[in-house]
Symmetry: C2
Subunit: 234 residues, 2 copies
């Protein structure tokens, strides 16, 4: 897509309340406009471009602040302590009911996505979200880059992105080397904070045991799950 | 367990309506009594043993006929055609509602259990059964022996048997080289017949795609599912 199409889509998403996707599109559009303006020699045209860029930067910044505030405020609606070696804590059991049809966008901060089981957890989360949130259009994933095998990580995330795209859900991936906190922000106003992020399941042993598909059968590591309720951010 | 304990348990299961398990225990007990009788020299004692053996053989035979008749009669309650490449046909979606708390025993005829994905399907079925049928006590699995790697097959099925045992569910495995038909007989009176048995899911491709855990996302092979309702057999 060229800058114009991207920014038209950004404004459209913004109007429809899909603000995470809008923010991402504004940023992409700004980047392209910056390249265009660098090649532009006509001063008057340059000025128009700069105004546009400023406008989109402001809008993206506003969205960022809105989502940030959203994640900082709110009241806690559930605290679920998970005991070491306990079972029955699949994503569906823990927070499936919050992934309802009001969710249009999801912001997922998950620092660790490098191991096979971690990608598997991401997929299990995506399966639940796709199944339950029928109006889901956009997921923004923020994760740490894999310092040992960045290409492998990118290739697997691309597979998942392509798979979601077939279901008309856009996944954008942002790498943040310093990311630490884990959280899942749903556009319907719920925020799920898990001490260990998505990765609190123990491996099944032996290989052919219950828990291979249904994570409710997996033993867990000790962690806490807090569910917050804020106003929806869209 | 010795013959006496086995046969006490058999009679107890029989009384509680767990007739599949009773049948299996009668057969085990008979086998041990046969060995005992062979070593017995006292003619009077021999006679008593033979009477007992005859009694248990008759009882096991009665159960066999009852279950057989059960599977032959009944009325069809649902016919679900699965189209090639269609999705949304996890075991839960297809027949989860019949796996209710009335199910104490399951008879599973599944000829093909040799490949990794086939054992995985068996586990997915077991997960569903354990989760939904809280009173499940016994599963009898009949399958074809793996002619190439019988020890590998037995080892994996043993893993699954041990795992179920932890949940106080007995799994017995019987190998029948000539088995062809697939069916799942539930002791609450429902019988599930799937043309391809448990194995009608296509592999996901690429590896990291939705459908890794949740089989509702998997594309299917064409097959038919018939659900029959009979009187419960216990």
């Amino acid at each position: 897509m060229n800058a114009k199409d991207i920014l038209i889509k950004a404004v459209q998403c913004d109007k429809e309340g899909r603000i995470l996707e809008a923010q991402s599109l504004y940023q992409d559009g700004i980047q392209i406009l910056m390249d265009v303006v660098a090649d532009e020699t006509d001063a008057a045209k340059k000025k128009v471009y700069y105004e546009r860029i400023k406008e989109y930067i402001d809008r993206a910044e506003q969205i960022k602040i809105r989502v940030q505030k959203h994640a900082e405020t709110g009241e806690i609606v559930a605290n679920i302590p998970i005991d070491e070696n306990s079972c029955g804590h699949s994503y569906r059991s823990l927070f499936g009911k919050y992934l309802n049809t009001d969710v249009k966008e999801i912001l997922l901060d998950e620092p660790y996505l490098t191991e096979r089981y971690q990608f598997q957890n991401l997929l299990a989360f995506a399966e639940l979200a796709v199944k339950q949130s029928k109006n889901l259009k956009y997921i923004r994933l923020i994760t740490k880059p894999d310092s040992k095998n960045p290409d492998g990580q990118a290739a697997i995330l691309k597979q998942i992105k392509d798979d979601l795209a077939k279901r008309e859900i856009t996944l954008t991936i942002k790498y943040e080397p310093s990311l630490h906190d884990r959280k899942i922000v749903l556009s319907n106003g719920y925020i799920i904070k898990i001490g260990r992020g998505l990765h609190f399941f123990k491996a099944i042993s032996p290989l052919y045991s219950l828990g291979l598909c249904d994570y409710d059968f997996r033993k867990c590591l000790q962690t806490d799950v807090d569910i917050w309720r804020t106003k929806n951010f869209s």
